[in-house]
Amino acid sequence: MATTVHEPPKIARRLPSEGSGNGGWRNLAPASGDLRRVKDSSPPPASTGIWVGLAAITMSFAAFTSAMIVRQGTAPLVHITLPPILYLNTLLIIASSITLELSRKQIAAFMGGMRDKDHSAVPSRWLYVTLFLGLLFVAGQTLAWIQLKSQGIGLATNISYSFFYVLTVAHALHVFGGLGGLIRVIGKVHNSVLRRSTLDATSRYWHFMGALWVYLLLLLWMKL
């Protein structure tokens, strides 16, 4: 996978000369051409955009959670035993967050001019590890569903399994979005067009998926 990189500083920031989005956080004084008190640049839209996206996902899972609580008030939820593989999957997704941070650190060092030992490799090794762990997590979740299915347990077996399937499948679908983001980042690293905001946004999303899973596991463990 070693690829020659020609220009290290490939993480670009939006500059004031780039047209729109170059800073409205403060006013310009209405003077004749005197642009005082202007900020250099606004945050890249991807930085804000990812928080907006995460807010929407948070609301959706808050809705599922409140549905579970309200539903519990009508008729008690049946106790179920969670498939043990979920705990292993939890370790995998936490580990993937750690490897992603290692990757970010490596890329940051690379952008600062500190190359790898071989002075030529793109610092994407930990990104691949993160992607692999993410795929393992999804495979592990799939294994849990297959195990339940083989025991004759489906979505409509009882309300607890209904919530189990809904929450785990909804989370897995969102994880697929994160995997797509990681693949995109890896592609951009190799093509020397990666923006810092893209990497930051992808990593925030990925960490959020990990935190969301830990929350869901605790919810399922406590409520079901």
Binding site: G19, P30, P45, A63
Partner: protein, 594 residues
């Protein structure tokens, strides 16, 4: 005297027809596409309301050709009770989602938010394109549901469980009709979430130099606040619809209670909560009311200011009031559930913020009226519809005071009083906002002017017609006329039939006025008088600084720089009646935002 100094990034305009007009990533084209979708949806929704009104006035009247729409629903061209409910459900769904949400927010917001903020486009243009096409796709299941075997769902736009969750046992349309409805709404939610993402990031990150938050026009603020509401509200409705679909196709029991017997058959569900749907739906549903109306508050304020030639009494307080409306809208949803059997303490808890929400609403109205007082308002179609909006907002809002109190709401909840209330404050007011925006921005969107005479005729007919339809609704409600009835056979309802006939005639008359608007819109688009210049209304915000219609990247080869607040009209000592935001003219006698 205008400064457009910063160079823009070269922004290649598409050349192929498909990329330019169909799968376009240009926010202006997407805005027009949303407008066209809303227009088609509004015509469908209005047509359905005509059918319903004719049936309510003259129940045995055969509507020629109605059997072509539904053989089972209208045998002999007379609609069945079930088909009446199906049409009512489709009318509500189409109008709330595909007209009132789509036109003032997605259509005008897409076209003008980037321009008013000084951006060359939305930050995620491909998401923006997806937003429209997903919304368009969402419209298709609704249309398709008319043509499935037992027709569309009959559960009302609120789709209360358990009726909506028990499948075809619930009646015509409760099987496939509900599945199609929920699929449509799921898709609609995705489209609106993608749109909100773009609106929020455009407002926060894409503003040009000098465009501080307080220098944004009120329209931009309204769209921003609406997008925040949309983000949180649609993100809740989508999970609710997913659970509803699962109750249908997977046999789950989220919303269907145990031992429910329908038509002598016990349903195989167990332990579901019928109230759960109401909680999830109304957590979306009440903010949705403000998603429909807040863009109108911004549009109408913007237009009134331009025509009064002076700013509102307080720019900041108007913004804070719109923000307060948005925040409070999440705390009041339980007032839709006063008759659900909830704990009286809960009713009180929801009643209090419902009464509180009238405070920011009243502040907005008082700012409008105080600003209008003594102004020399320029009378044109846009300003007339803006005044009409104010009138409808007040009239519809006043009945909200009654409904906010559980003891009164319990009596009025299932009556025409509620129908009159929400049609005035949310439906007609929002429609008037759409009309005002259309007459105002048409020259910027197309380069041509709409016919003012036809516009004024349209306003007078719509204003009178709307009041003739919806004020009697309040009287009917107080008289105990239950809503959703398709015929009035009870002794106490029979004397009210003449009122219904009057309302039907008023509805047909008002609908006729909308055909005048449609003619004006289409005729003016192709053959209307050319706009005299880029700024025919002598406005100050950035949309009037650029060419008409705006170029692909909005501002050509120079990006704007903003030096002034958005509404610098009649400033003493200024060189003209108005000072545009991009003007470098120094103003001494004004208290601008810093």
């Amino acid at each position: 005297m205008h400064d457009m100094s910063t160079h823009a990034v070269p922004h290649g305009a598409p050349t192929s027809f498909i990329r330019k007009h169909v799968f376009s990533i240009d926010h202006k084209v997407i805005g027009k596409q949303y407008y066209a979708l809303a227009l088609v949806a509004a015509l469908v929704g209005m047509f359905l309301s005509w059918l319903m009104r004719i049936h309510l006035g003259w129940g045995s009247f055969a509507i020629p050709g109605l059997h072509l729409l539904s053989k089972n629903g209208a045998p002999g061209d007379v609609m069945t009770p079930e088909y009446y409910l199906q049409l009512m459900t489709m009318h509500g769904t189409i109008m709330v989602f595909f007209v009132l949400t789509t036109a003032p927010f997605a259509a005008f917001g897409n076209f003008f938010l980037p321009i008013q903020t000084g951006a060359e486009d939305m930050p995620f243009p491909h998401f923006n394109m997806m937003s429209f096409w997903v919304t368009f796709t969402a419209f298709l299941p609704i249309v398709a549901s008319f043509f499935v075997s037992d027709g569309p769902t009959l559960g009302g736009w609120t789709q209360y469980a358990p009726l909506s969750a028990i499948g075809s046992a619930g009646g015509p349309g409760e099987g496939w009709g509900v599945i199609l409805w929920a699929t449509s709404i799921c898709l609609f939610c995705i489209g609106q979430l993608l749109g909100s993402l773009n609106f929020i990031t455009t407002t926060l990150d894409m503003r040009c130099k000098g465009m501080s938050l307080m220098r944004l026009p009120l329209t931009a603020w309204a769209w921003f606040i609406t997008s925040v509401m949309g983000l949180t509200a649609f993100a809740v409705l989508m999970p609710a619809c997913i659970l509803l679909i699962l109750d249908h196709v997977a046999g789950t029991s989220f919303f269907v209670a145990s031992n429910l017997v329908i038509n002598d058959q016990m349903l195989p569900h167990s332990g579901g909560s019928t109230l759960l749907w109401q909680h999830l739906f109304w957590f979306f549903g009440h903010p949705e009311v403000y998603i429909a109306i807040v863009p109108g508050l911004g549009i109408v304020s913007h237009i009134l200011i331009t025509n009064m030639r002076r700013p509102m009494l307080s720019h900041r307080v108007l913004i804070y009031s719109m923000g307060a409306l948005a925040a409070l809208s999440y705390m009041v949803y339980g007032h839709h559930m006063f008759v659900s059997g909830m704990n009286p303490v809960s009713s009180l808890a929801f009643s209090f913020p419902t009464l509180v929400i009238t405070i920011p609403s009243t502040i907005v109205v008082l700012i409008w009226l105080g600003s209008l007082y003594g102004s020399k308002l320029r009378i044109n179609s846009a300003s007339l519809f803006s005044l009409g909006f104010v009138s409808m907002f007040i009239s519809g809002g006043v009945s909200g005071f009654f409904l906010a109190q559980p003891s009164i709401d319990i009596m009025l909840h299932a009556t025409y009083f509620v129908v009159g209330h929400f049609h005035l404050v949310m439906g007609v007011a929002a429609m008037f906002g759409i009309f005002a925006g259309t007459y105002f921005w048409f020259p910027k969107m197309t380069g041509r002017m709409m016919n003012e005479t036809l516009g004024k005729v349209h306003f007078v007919m719509s204003f009178i017609g709307a009041y003739c339809i919806f004020m009697p609704f309040h009287y009917l409600g107080i008289a105990g006329n239950v809503r959703r009835y398709q015929a009035f056979t009870d002794d106490y309802l029979i004397p009210l039939i003449p009122v219904h006939k009057f309302i039907t005639i008023a509805a047909l008359f008002t609908g006729l006025a909308q055909l005048i608007f449609l003619y004006n819109l289409i005729h003016s688009r192709f053959w209307g008088k050319m706009a005299p210049n880029d700024n025919p209304w002598e406005g100050t915000s950035l949309e009037w600084s650029t060419a008409t219609p705006p170029p692909h990247n909005n501002f050509g080869d120079k990006m704007p720089v903003v030096y002034h607040d958005p509404y610098q009209y009649s400033v003493e000592g200024a060189s003209a009646d108005y000072v545009m935001q991009t003007s470098t003219e120094q103003l001494k006698n004004t208290d601008e935002e810093k």
